[in-house]
Amino acid sequence: MFEVENLTVYRGDKAVVHGLSFTVSEGSIVGLLGPNGAGKTTAICGLLGLLRSSSDRLSLNDVDLRDHPKERRARLGYVPQAVAMYPELSVVENLKIWGGLYGIGDQRIQKRVEFAIELAGLQERGKDRVHALSGGMKRRLNLAIGLLHDPDVLICDEPTTGVDAESRRAIYRALHEMKEAGKHVLYTTHYFKEVEDLCDRVVILQEGKMVLQDSLDALLSAKEQGENTSIAVQTSLSSQELEEAMTQAGIPFSQTSLPKPSLEEVFLKVTQNKGVEP
């Protein structure tokens, strides 16, 4: 369990994220949403130890990470929004270098490089320089680098921005594999559909404060007691004709269903329509 309790992150002397608390269970993906400027990146920086922060708890499987910055960085993986690697170097060189920076030993590095190349689907492009790869390939490699050192917690900052459908599917597949392997994933994205498809829980940030945290199922069923109900009937009649016919005929409604509100609707409601982008 990756546990964050009362995390406050500072930029200079100013607290930008206040009292953020959430947990990421083993084998689960938590979506971190918020409008632009909500403090998502600052929160990530705080988690990674790149900005001054304070918290009541920051632990992984009950191991306190606060006083062990090297341990923290070794056990956390980070996939940035930007394609952050060395375009002048080949795929393999990049993976070796990043592996080395993450502290992977000589014995293990070759296996991890092979794993990452397979994960990114770049078996035929290992010797190619990164700047020669397509945008989607770079994104996949970007993710593979974050997974290179086999982190227990993976923090993804909008990893699918601007990728094609094939690469998006590859990234989803990799994240599902992480989930199945019992890893903890924290995921920020602009795409609500992605959160609906991937995440188990959602944390919504606004103006540096957490305004909502719940499981995705709970959020999406929150409107079941709401005003928008409908009857699904297979018929060629118009809705008015159907209503009249059913009333006159005294037919009880045998099947009714409530439409699930989209995550975007939930998001807009909790953030009081202040923004549409997480």
């Binding site: 990674l48 960085r73 930007a82 394609v83 952050a84 690697m85 002048e88 170097l89 920076l101 993450y102």
Partner: protein
């Protein structure tokens, strides 16, 4: 340490990933050093200077001038007339014309000399060829002593000069005490008596030099003692040019590395490295060491090119040479780190960095030898690492000095590099905590 190793390996791999760029880092300083070295070749390496002589004096002085000028190995004398000389110099086809006036012999007579009249030569110089003209002026000064000395070596000339002097003694004794005036008259009278017998002889009875002019002080090269240097062959302009250009281009290379650092900060790669277990200090040190390592390698290869092409040789201490290069590379690494942290945009880095490197190179004597600069600039140069780099390399290359001569410049370069690096670390630390 493993993180440091991978950071250095990364930077070296990136440097060599652009093979043509890496080659240019080596070829450019060598090419410019070859050019500058040929420009600043010492006079001894230059061929004779062509000058024109317009001898309008048919007397002994005119003949003496012509003979002395023709004897010179470093001059190529063409005797011509006034009109052609003016035309050739005016059109830039000759650097200088020397005119011996018609009354040159007359002005160098005992009568004129006793009056205090100065014999004169006139010279016409091409304003665009001042360097050659300055050399010829020096030669003329030397020859003047010889020409005048040649006249004074003739006892009959000297006798007449003394007699003229005695005759004019009373005219120029205003303010002189009678006693002094009397003593001077006696000296001249005794001198006259001494010279008179020689003036009457057809040849001098003692082995006098052919002319008194040959008694002019002869300048011979004094060899440096061996402990001052293993092999000292004089100023080697290519050695100086290679020192200066290697230093300047390494600083430019440092700027390129700063740009790479800046780019990595902007595209998020730097940020990502910061999320790895590698510490902030290790990141800075990695950049510093890798820049220094590449700079050292480039410098060694460039010096190799200099050795093969124009005989740029380490006549002095090889450890001193290596020590200076290592210190210079360390300084370049620190400079690169500092510029990458001082400048926040690529544009600022390019413009400010280029200005700083050019000023440091020029004032530090990397372009031209510092002795051609003014005293102020030479003093200012002591505050430039380039000055220490060129001095240190000069000491162990063409000066042929021992390790001790390179130690001071190497320590100064090390101090400059460390100061630059500390400033970079301070700025970086401050920024990461803001």
């Amino acid at each position: 340490m493993r993180g440091l190793y991978w950071l250095i390996r990364k930077d070296i791999s990136i440097f060599f990933s652009d093979v043509s760029g890496a080659l240019m880092t080596i070829i450019m300083p060598a090419a410019l050093a070859l050019l500058l070295g040929s420009i600043f070749q010492p006079p001894g390496d230059m061929g004779p200077i062509s000058i024109l002589l317009v001898n309008e004096d048919q007397g002994p002085v005119g003949k003496a001038w012509e003979m002395r000028l023709r004897e010179r190995q470093d001059l190529n004398v063409t005797v011509t007339d006034r009109e052609e000389a003016v035309s050739l110099v005016g059109r830039g086809l000759a650097p200088m014309a020397i005119f011996v006036p018609t009354d040159a012999s007359e002005k160098l007579s005992p009568k004129e000399l006793s009056r205090g009249t100065m014999p004169r030569l006139t010279i016409l110089e091409d304003p665009a060829k001042q360097v050659e003209a300055m050399r010829v002026r020096g030669v003329l000064t030397e020859l003047s002593v010889m020409v005048v000395g040649q006249r004074l070596a003739d006892p009959s000339f000297t006798l007449e000069l003394v007699q003229q002097g005695r005759g004019r003694l009373s005219e120029s004794m205003d303010g002189v005490s009678p006693k002094s005036s009397r003593l001077l008259g006696q000296i001249l009278s005794n001198t006259e008596e001494l010279i008179e017998p020689f003036a009457a002889l057809p040849a001098l009875p003692i082995p006098f030099p052919k002319t008194l002019g040959d008694w002019a002080i002869q300048l011979d090269a004094e060899p440096f003692p061996k402990e001052m240097g293993k092999q000292r062959e004089g100023y080697h302009s290519y050695s100086h040019a290679f020192a200066g250009m290697v230093c300047m281009f390494l600083l430019f290379f440092g700027l390129e590395r700063s740009k790479q650092e800046l780019r990595e900060k902007m595209d998020g790669t730097h940020f990502r490295v910061a999320t790895t277990p590698v510490s902030h200090g290790t990141m800075l040190l990695g950049s510093w060491v890798s820049t220094s390592a590449i700079a050292l390698l480039s410098a060694l290869i460039t010096y190799g090119v200099g050795w093969v092409t124009v005989d740029v040789v380490v006549h002095g201490s090889i450890p001193g040479f290596l020590c200076t290069l290592i210190a210079m590379s360390w300084m370049v690494g620190g400079f690169s780190l500092m510029m990458g942290n001082v400048c926040q945009t690529n544009q600022t880095l390019t413009s400010l960095g280029t200005l700083i490197v050019l000023v440091m190179s020029f004032v530090g004597g990397a372009w031209a030898p510092s002795f051609v600069l003014s005293d102020f600039l030479q003093t200012l140069g002591l505050w430039m690492p380039t000055s220490w780099a060129t001095e240190g390399l000069a000491a162990v290359t063409w000066r042929g000095l021992e390790f001790g001569a390179a130690l001071g410049p190497a320590l100064a370069l090390f101090a400059f590099g460390s100061a630059f690096g500390c400033l970079a670390w301070l700025l970086s630390w401050k920024r990461s905590h803001s």
